[in-house]
Subunit: 410 residues, 2 copies
Amino acid sequence: MRTILVVGDGMADRPLKELGGRTPLEAAETPNLDSVAKAGVCGLMDIIAPGRPPGSDVANLALLGYDPIESYRGRGALEAMGAGIEIRRGDVAFRGNFSYVDDRGVVLDRRAGRVEGSQFKGHLSDVRLSGHPDVEVTVLPTLGHRLAVVLRGEKLSWRVSDTDPHRDGAKVLTSQPLEKTEEAERTAAIVNKLTATLKNMLRDDPVNRERIKAGLPPANAILLRGAGEPPTVTPMTDLYGVRGACVSATPTVRGACVAVGFEIFDALGATGGVDTDTISKARKAEEVLPNHDIVYLHVKGTDNASHDGKAQLKMSVIEKIDDMVGHLIEHADLDETYIAVTADHTTSVTARDHRGDPVPVAISGPEVRSDAVASFSERACAYGGLGRIRGKELMPTLLDLLGKMPLYGS
Amino acid sequence: MRTILVVGDGMADRPLKELGGRTPLEAAETPNLDSVAKAGVCGLMDIIAPGRPPGSDVANLALLGYDPIESYRGRGALEAMGAGIEIRRGDVAFRGNFSYVDDRGVVLDRRAGRVEGSQFKGHLSDVRLSGHPDVEVTVLPTLGHRLAVVLRGEKLSWRVSDTDPHRDGAKVLTSQPLEKTEEAERTAAIVNKLTATLKNMLRDDPVNRERIKAGLPPANAILLRGAGEPPTVTPMTDLYGVRGACVSATPTVRGACVAVGFEIFDALGATGGVDTDTISKARKAEEVLPNHDIVYLHVKGTDNASHDGKAQLKMSVIEKIDDMVGHLIEHADLDETYIAVTADHTTSVTARDHRGDPVPVAISGPEVRSDAVASFSERACAYGGLGRIRGKELMPTLLDLLGKMPLYGS
C-alpha cells in the first residue's frame, strides 16, 4: 500500500463575485478531483486553527504532520535546505536577493534587473567578517537573482529582522534582534557587518564592472530576509520508518520535505509557476512511488495566480492539477494506492493573500470510509465524513491507512 | 468591511416538553435570525469544550477569542472593570452584596431588603485594616444592593473563597485560601479582617440607624464572592490592531470587553433584563459601527428567562433579539458588513442553569462560504459548513474574514 498526497498551493478560496459566487475550485472543470471526492472520504482542514492564515513554510510542515507552532523556526533554513545546502542545527540561514542600491543605501531595484546570480558563483566564497573570525559564512546563488546565506558558529539566533525593506525606493534596513537574548543581539550585529562586507566585495566585482559598462544595474548589495534555523522535527523516517518522496519545484516545500527526511525529485518541465508541466510531475510521482510509502506531490501555480488576483488563471491551473490527478488515477494500481488531495492554505484572489479559511481534503483508496460527497470543493467537502480536522492530523491519518502508525499504549 | 457579532445570553437550550420537544429557538418566530443562517455559513460551537458548562465571564472571554482556561482569573475583576473601576494587574476584586446579618452571623437577608447601596457612597471610603496598613481598600456601590470591592497591595491572590453563603439562613463564611501559597493565605486573612471591619463601620452608619427606625432591615454586613484578578490577556487592539466596540448593559460582559481593549457604549433603554430595548441597542450598534472593526452586541434577557425557568418568556426575548437583527439587516450596507449570531452558552429552562451543550452559530456576509442551512437553531446549525468549532475560534474566524489576522510564517 502506498499514498500520493497532492497539494495545490493556495488552491482553496472564497466565493468570488466574478465567478457568480462560486470559488475557483467550484467553477473549474475538475472531473478527476471530483472522482477522488466521490470515491473517497472528504472533510475540511484548518492548517493551523480556524481563522489563522499560515505562511507556506508553516503550512507544509503541518501537512507533513508536524505541529506548525512548535516546529517552525523561520523560512530561511527551509529554503536553503530546499536548494540542496546542508544545514546543521545551530546554523542560521537567510533568503536573499542580489539587488541594486544607491550611495545613500536606497534600494533602486530589489532584483538588480533580474540579474543571473550564478555569475557570482565562487566570487563570494571567502567572506571574512572583521570582529567575528569564528563565524563561517556561505553565500550561494540559487535561482535567478535569488541566493541563500548561511551563518555557522557559536551562539547564533534566528530571531533577527530582515535587511530587505521588501520594496524599491526604501532604504536597506538594519537588522534588529527580535528577542532580548545575547544570541539575537550578536546575530543582528553579524548580519549588519555581513551586509557592509558584501557591499564592499560586490563593488569591485568584475561581473558588476561589465554590467555597468553594458548599462545594466549592478548587483551591488545583498538583501536578506526570513532568518531561520532548521525546524525542530524528528524526521518521519526515524519516527515511523516511512520512506517519503517529494516532487516539487518550490524551495520552501522541498526544504520542509528534506527536514522530515523525504527524498527530493525533479520533474522535467516543473517550473514552480503557472506554466508548469503537471503531467510530467504525475509521471515522476508514478516513477518513484514503488520505492516509497508516500509521495508528496506539490503544485505551486494556483498560489501564484491567486497572489496576482487572477481567477481565470487560477481555474486553469486547477484544471492542470485535475489533469495530473487524472493521470495518477489512470496509471495507479487502485487496489494498492491511496490518493489524497488538498491545499496548503486558502489564498483569496480578492485579497491577493493567504487567509485562514479551512481547505477541502479528500482521500480515496482501498479502505477509506467513503461518504456521500461527490465533488471536490470548499463547500462540498464540508459535508464529508472526515468532519473538520487540523493540518497536522492529515499525515497521521494517511500513514495510519498504510498501517504505519505505531500503537500508543498496549 | 466590518462585523456585528450578536450574542444572545444563554439563548441556546435543550428540547422542552412544554414546547412539544422543540427548543425555544426552534419554537420562536425568528425570520431574521433564519435569514442570517440562510445567507450564511452555520455550525455548532463548544464555548469551552463538549459538555463543559461555562460561566458568563469565561464564555465572553472565549467569544472574544481568548483561551477561557488560560485567561480566566475569576469574575470579580471583570465585574469591577465593567462598572468602570480602574483595575491594575496585582489587584484583587470581589463582587459584593449589602446584606442583613444577625448577631450570631446568620444571614437573614442577602440583599438587606434590596437596599439602595448608593446611599452608602463615600461612607466606606476610608477603610483601614489593622495589621495590614499596606493594603488599599476600595468599596464602591454599583447597582441596587450590589457593590464592588478592590484590594490593592503587594502579594495578593485571587485564589480565595467567598464569604457569601449564597443563601439566607446560613452563616457568613470565613474566606479560605484555595491554594497553598503565602499570597492566598494572606489574602484570605485580609478578606476576613475586612468583613469584620466593615461590619463595625456599618453598625453605626446613619443610613442604617434611619432604616432601623423605619422598620427596614439594616445593611449591616457585606458579603463577598467571585474573587478575581484582571484576565491575563493581551488586548485585541495590541494583538491585531482591531478597533472593537461593546454594546451591553451587563457588567461582566462590559468588563471582559474592557479587558480586551474594546470601547464600551450605553444604549438608552438597555436594562440587562427581559424588558430591554433591543431596537435601541441595534441603533447604537449601527451608530458606532463606522468607527470600529467589530461591534459586540450582547442581550442578557434570554439568560434571565432561562434561570427563571420561563420558556414562553425566553421565546419572547428571542423574538426581540430577532427584531434587533432585522433592524441591523435593514440598515446595514450588506456588501460591507458581516453579521454573526450566536449564544454564549446553553441555559436550560428545565434545569434553570447553564449546560455544556454546544451553541448554534451563523455568519453571513460578502465572502462567506454559505451552506444549505435555512434556519437558526441548535439542530439546524449542526448541518452547517462550519462544522463544530470552539468558542475561542469564532473571533479569529470573524477577524480573518476582515483580513485582520496576521500570517503565521512567511
